[in-house]
């Protein structure tokens, strides 16, 4: 399981108040997502790299995560250059690639990588549980927070259950291949996981009822803004606003 494996560390970003990090991460992502001027995006890339440097994470692990993101982006490169209208650059058989299409695909690639880098540096450096508590103190509805908590809590359990079932298959010499037997076995595995989660959800509900649950949850963690949090918040907000102004004010 990969939950929380960037969360241990003692960098400036690890120690920063998670509320500050969430606010900055949201603003940064929104600005990058809507920006299309090169000056603004170049600044965003620099900012994301600086944050990554400040978080002092293993670059190898970060790179592996970026691979996952870019696996999706490969599909964009397969379609966008050939379907977007504009000036023709080259053609493969009957398909024409346009200059605009390539620029568009490039923009999306840069934007998503920049946002993911910033999110890794800002958010992955706090344990999910802490982020949940921070979100609750930022007035995100309780129901969403508890969905997050239940997901984190039981992802682990489900993953273990999956591993157990997988091992049970393996010790009976199951070798996945491209055949009906494999598809059927995996379908059984998935179905079994679904049924087991359903049963578990029912048992958890019962356990909660036994402890007097009547529809209300309580959170115990609280945060206190330190001086360094305030200073970092101001600096990062200034940088993000500067970046935004490159998109919307200068050169108009």
């Amino acid at each position: 399981m990969h939950i929380d494996n960037f969360a241990t560390g003692d960098s400036l970003l690890h120690r920063l108040d998670p509320r500050v990090k969430i606010v900055v991460a949201i603003l940064f992502s929104v600005v990058v997502a809507v920006a299309d001027r090169y000056g603004c995006l170049a600044t965003a890339v620099c900012l994301a790299l600086t944050l990554l440097f400040l978080a002092r994470l293993s670059l190898r692990e970060v790179f592996l995560r970026l691979l996952v993101v870019n696996a999706f982006i490969v599909f964009l490169w397969l379609f966008l250059p050939f379907t977007y209208g504009g000036e023709k650059l080259f053609s493969i058989g009957p398909l024409d690639a346009t200059r605009e299409g390539i620029i568009y695909a490039l923009l999306i690639t840069v934007k998503s990588n920049t946002i993911v880098l910033a999110l890794i540096a800002l958010l992955a450096t706090s344990p999910v549980v802490t982020l949940g508590h921070a979100l609750s103190h930022l007035y995100v509805p309780d129901k969403l927070i508890h969905l997050l908590f239940f997901t984190v809590r039981y992802l682990q359990v489900l993953h273990l259950e999956y591993d157990r079932l997988r091992d049970a298959m393996r010790i009976r010499a199951f070798k996945p291949g491209t055949n009906v037997h494999t598809y059927k076995s995996f379908a059984y595995l998935l179905g079994m996981l679904l049924i087991k989660s359903f049963d578990r959800a029912d048992r958890i509900r019962k356990a909660m009822l036994c402890r007097g649950f009547h529809g209300k949850y309580y959170l115990l963690s609280h945060f206190e803004l330190q001086r360094v949090d305030m200073i970092m918040l101001v600096i990062m907000m200034l940088l993000v606003s500067g970046m935004a102004s490159l998109q919307w004010i200068i050169l108009k």
């Binding site: 578990r200 958890i204 115990l220």
Partner: protein, 227 residues
């Protein structure tokens, strides 16, 4: 203990699980009586209905026939069982079902908060219970990263934090190492609670209970008496 106050009384309880195709009777005209201070063991084959019996007592299932009396009152509706759940603590077979909060402190405080305690009171109770079980310093640990034995003891703490008058333990020693089992026995023996334990481990039962019933063929019979 014949003259002491009876706090749990099952009168002619029957229960069956209904599936689309099958009708599987589990309990049939079962009678049980537990007095304050009694320490009762329950043995029986897998699927003989021990867990069902506990879930009936907590109002998680409803009997098809018979009456359940707890603390001198007959309990029928969900509302009647709310009070039962405040005074009777049930330790589930699988601790992963019981621990659902991210941190240990939140999980232990969940019950007391539901009972209307303030955050400070709930935290004080949490610290006190963890200390009593020798689990100091576990407050900020993440529940999903605990070992199996730790999970079981923390689950027990979440139940004890509600200051129950009766404790119901469903297979508490299953899957634990010897040391943890010894710790559990110590905790139970030193408590003055009324409790009811289902277990396959007769050694565990003989060390923790005064009387053992066997559940077999939908009926309850007295198996042993140690003292």
């Amino acid at each position: 203990m014949d003259n002491s106050e009876v706090i749990i009384r099952f009168k002619g309880i029957s229960f069956a699980y209904h599936d689309n195709q099958s009708h599987r009777p589990v309990l049939d005209d079962l009678n049980l009586q537990i007095s304050r201070g009694e320490r009762v063991g329950l043995i029986g084959a897998n699927g003989s209905g021990k867990t069902t019996l506990f879930h009936l007592l907590m109002g998680l299932l409803r009997p098809t026939a018979g009456a359940i009396e707890v603390f001198g009152e007959e309990r029928q509706k969900e509302k009647d069982f709310r009070e039962v759940r405040e005074k009777i603590g049930l330790l589930f077979q699988d601790s992963d079902d019981q621990l659902f909060c991210p941190t240990v402190a939140e999980d232990v405080a969940f019950g007391p908060l539901n009972l209307g305690k303030s955050q400070e009171e709930a935290l004080a109770i949490t610290r006190e219970v963890l200390e009593r079980l020798g689990l100091e310093g576990f407050e900020d640990r993440l529940t999903y990263k605990l070992s199996g034995g730790e999970k079981r003891l923390i689950s027990l703490a979440t139940v004890l934090a509600m200051k129950p008058e009766v404790l119901i333990l469903d297979e508490p020693s299953t899957g634990l190492d010897e040391d943890t089992v010894e710790r559990l026995i110590e905790i139970l023996r030193s408590s003055d609670l009324t409790y009811l334990i289902a277990s396959h481990n007769s050694d565990f039962l003989s060390k923790t209970t005064d009387i053992v019933y066997r559940l077999s063929q939908s009926k309850l019979v007295r198996a042993t008496k140690h003292h």
